[in-house]
Subunit: 343 residues, 4 copies
């Protein structure tokens, strides 16, 4: 941590800072200039509150120079991690396709979507039984009945299941059906939920909050990791900006940035980022190009009848193109298409 | 709802739209132009999915023309509402001051802050026992012990208590101590929590999500209202923008806009918006000027020792100025300072 | 400036930094820790490129600790400045009302608007002869004919004229008619224009860029100041955010923040911020509450016929309310209403 | 255009609207509902001001349903365009690499960078002689001396030159040296400059404003097109958001969206988007994956000595990787690498 003091800071102001810092067992180095005095702190600064230091007399700024997350940081874990979901790897050597319906509606619709997913090269099935919706009047998902459908479709297709949990007290229930728990963008700072999934004994896919910085996203992952679960996959799904031409703005740069800061795998959701079918393939190629470890994509056999997010779901006619992308692009980045591993 | 079709739309495309719309019992009016065909829908469109319509062939855009929230809308309830918290009004005739410590730390600190609050004209006490923190390594609040402290301080000072709840399953516990439940910005779309506070039989203060549009904020309020609770106070607390000079960007225009769209009272949190003590008074005056029905402010006797958000808390020397603002500004807007009601 | 090096930095990496820094005549203080090494730089760092330092091996971050603007900074000029426009003060002791039509359309419309402005307490007349418009098909202003109208209306009303200039090569022309030159939000980083108005011998009103940080806004002012002109008034006019309910998001906190960082006066444009007539009075009161040194407001006798921005112009019926705000609020902040100075 | 009226609208309110609309020669279709009345306008609505209609009594909203740009729209020009710069194509069949130094500093540095660019597959040389800089104290470019250096390097390398112009009155000078004129992000709404480059008889590269919507970007292009110049290449270079981990947020979705709305070629600037060398290759691959018609990249032989933007320039060791990307990715999208056309 570095404390910056202005020209108005008195000797007493500096002495107060030094006393406080040294009481916390931290070593301080003072560089005195005419306009600014810089106090560099070396040691374990976790006991010092950056905000409170900033409020002290003479202090202009307090700058943190180390990362606030530890377990998910790449600094102490330089090797990038691979997370296995029902045996399927997500990590630096592969590009994994997760696909399925946005929401589970009926057994038949879910099975059709799962077969479409598999045809496109998916090795994991996505599908929502609990849906967080902006409007209380919108379809909120089938709940446990939806989880049962997902488990049946897993039986029939062999695809492990990724599904969202929205309430800390549903975590055990969802974990009893799912191979991977998803935490959605609206719950990216629902800390009770993060802690609960951290203790559930299942891999977790953590979507980025729609207005979360990359640092806040990694702090949310740290909440999960702190409960003993490091099987976390980060998912970039678009951030909120001034641009309204797309549902969200896919922050494709977040992929390499998060991979440099953290050892966790990073995947991309091109369906929810763009919000439109026509954008799914371009954004999938962009994601793989940026180095994503996988993508998660909505598919639906009859999107015009979908209860949730129909306009962004791929339809049957798109699958061959998607399969081609999943097969041809990963090798250019030295990766194995995950869909070929089971072959 | 209005459906806009492009020049490429065929007669069949239009017929499909009309069939679907009429099946939903909605009347359609068609205006045909060279570049665009406009289909105006009149009737109850809640059964029609805007997104799915947008995905149909020939459709360029689908525009909603009525508000998606009902119970909190001012359209069916033109009179602005007053919410009473332990007898204290928040509404169009007054300007209410809610003040207290950001976090409850000790009985003494909480009592000191409550006395400071009262001195400045506060008629409600704020204080957090459950604190949602970005870092898992930060102080998370005292939990139920904190709630007991708040109840004791209420006894001593007579100030009803406003406190945050962060987990749906703590709602009954918190409601058993608190006069008003607060839902924080990170939980602004935690729908399980919104529904739980809607059923708790206590007034609710709903902070705006840090990246929520005003419409999304009102939809979150609708979740609470739908469970039978219309004692909701909206709280603007700053939004996330590109500007980093302040902790958040206070969207002061949201006050008159939300008051025009909804009958619910709207207050402002100048402490968390600005994130700095020096900004609290200017932003308080700005909030009252914009027509806020109240403000909620952090105070702390020893902010340099505060466990949470010390730098934004007002200290003893600021209270007289705050009291002056709370006394002198409301009359200019035809309102009674809430602090004088008990005199 | 502070250079932060990571644990991977070698002795050679540090030595390279020190060599480069010392070659620039800057003193370096090194604080070595396990995770980070901090190099504090003391002296004139203007010769060092922050970006290039950041690109050197072992460097994690480079933090600037002094302000990059000098002439407009309050650090070397603690007293807040008053700028005089045709004898009318804008500064810390008053609250000045600048009003008039968004665009000059006809002599009669301009005169009517000027009389409305004066009735509301305005002491300066605004009006655009050169209009920067998003669409090339929209009305672009009357040009020099508009300037002549403004000069005539100044004759009739005694109100000095504030008007926009959009091209560096029109500066002399506009300055020959205007009492104050306005630089608009779209030209906030048109450096050729900033330099030209800096040399024109007229006070300048500098609108904030719609996505400019406060620091960038002050750097733009520094461009003007550097040409010898310190008669600059900063104007906050709303920034671009995700919220679409208002035309822009008025960043009311920018008023006290900019006043703390710079000695220049800061005013607010509530018309262009909100984009709607109903928001002008609430935002005017908010601006004065936040400490603004003035406001600039659109008025129009027949806004439904206005060629530009009709919906945000105040009409005759609003003027008495505005006059009341301009008279009653400033005294609460220890300021004289500018409109009473001429009385 | 669609006008939406609320339940409070009277018959007179509707009649006023209809009178105004019909006076403009536009046909109106009225759909009356209980909550809303919808007036669909069919015909040439360019004479109607959306804002003024919105200000009329009873009107809730006015929605534009056709695009405000004409010449650059794909609606009337379904075929995507190819722009030729000194004989080099930028368009749907190729992926063009434009590379060179951010700023021209010396003849030797420029030549070295041009040779690096060519080695990586570049067929066009970029380089700035006029540099718009946030600080007036930063290096502003060599001006005409820089243009002469660029012309000499073109002689030696055969690479046509792309260079920025920042002032309308320099357009002829710059056009006398350059093969393509660049308009930078800070001038994206400098309409005088846009009109001047529209009349200069040279292809133009138009960078997106850092807070411009895609629609505003296309309107800026329309300014150029309206002066008779349709040889315009759009360049996405990152937008301003809340995220500070990257210099800007590359809006990679803007590539397919702009290509759907406009027939103009769209390229990407991965150097300025990310602001860091390590991000250039991932973002280049992402851009090509999204369908970009080219990329523009900074290279510098000695970036630590660069006067502008050193940390984002590629160095010699990166070139082979870049050449590989430019060679291997385009064929997967059915495109020819532009660098092989001259072979």
């Amino acid at each position: 941590m570095v404390i910056v003091m202005g020209p108005e800071a008195t000797g007493n102001d500096l002495a107060s800072i030094l006393a406080l810092v040294e009481a916390a067992g931290v070593e301080a180095f003072v560089s005195r200039g005419v306009q600014r005095t810089i106090v560099g702190l070396v040691g374990d600064v976790t006991q010092l509150d950056q905000g409170n230091l900033r409020g002290m007399p003479g202090v202009r700024d307090v700058v943190r120079v180390s990362t606030p997350y530890k377990l998910v940081s790449r600094e102490n874990h330089p090797e990038r991690s691979t997370v296995h979901v029902g045996g399927v790897p997500i990590g630096p050597d592969t590009v994994t396709l997760i696909a399925g319906p946005c929401a589970v509606e009926t057994p038949q619709q879910t099975l059709e979507a799962a077969l479409m997913a598999r045809k496109a090269g998916a090795t994991l099935l996505r599908g929502g039984a609990f849906k967080p919706r902006t409007s209380p009047y919108a379809f909120q998902g089938l709940g446990e009945a939806g989880l049962r459908i997902l488990a049946e479709v897993r039986e029939e297709t062999g695809l492990p299941v990724v599904t969202e949990v929205v309430d800390a007290h549903d975590v055990d229930l969802v974990a009893s059906y799912a191979d991977m728990l998803q935490v959605g963008t609206r719950n990216a700072q629902n800390f009770a939920l993060l802690q609960a999934v951290g203790a559930a004994g299942r891999p977790v896919m953590l979507k980025r909050g729609m207005s979360a910085t990359i640092e806040e996203w990694l702090m949310a992952a740290e909440y999960i990791a702190q409960r003993g679960n490091l099987d976390i996959v980060l998912c970039e799904r678009g951030i909120r900006t001034f641009e309204t031409a797309t549902r969200n703005t896919l922050d494709v740069s977040a992929v390499p940035v998060a991979q440099r800061l953290s050892h966790l795998p990073v995947i991309v959701d091109p369906s929810h980022s763009g919000g439109h079918r026509d954008l799914v393939l371009p954004l999938t190629r962009a994601a793989i190009g940026a180095g994503a470890d996988g993508v998660i994509i909505d598919v639906h056999a009859h999107p015009e009848q979908a209860l949730v997010d129909g306009p962004q779901a791929l339809v049957d006619g798109d699958l061959e193109l998607l399969a081609g992308v999943m097969r041809d692009f990963p090798p250019l980045l030295g990766r194995t298409p995950a869909g070929t591993l089971t072959a």
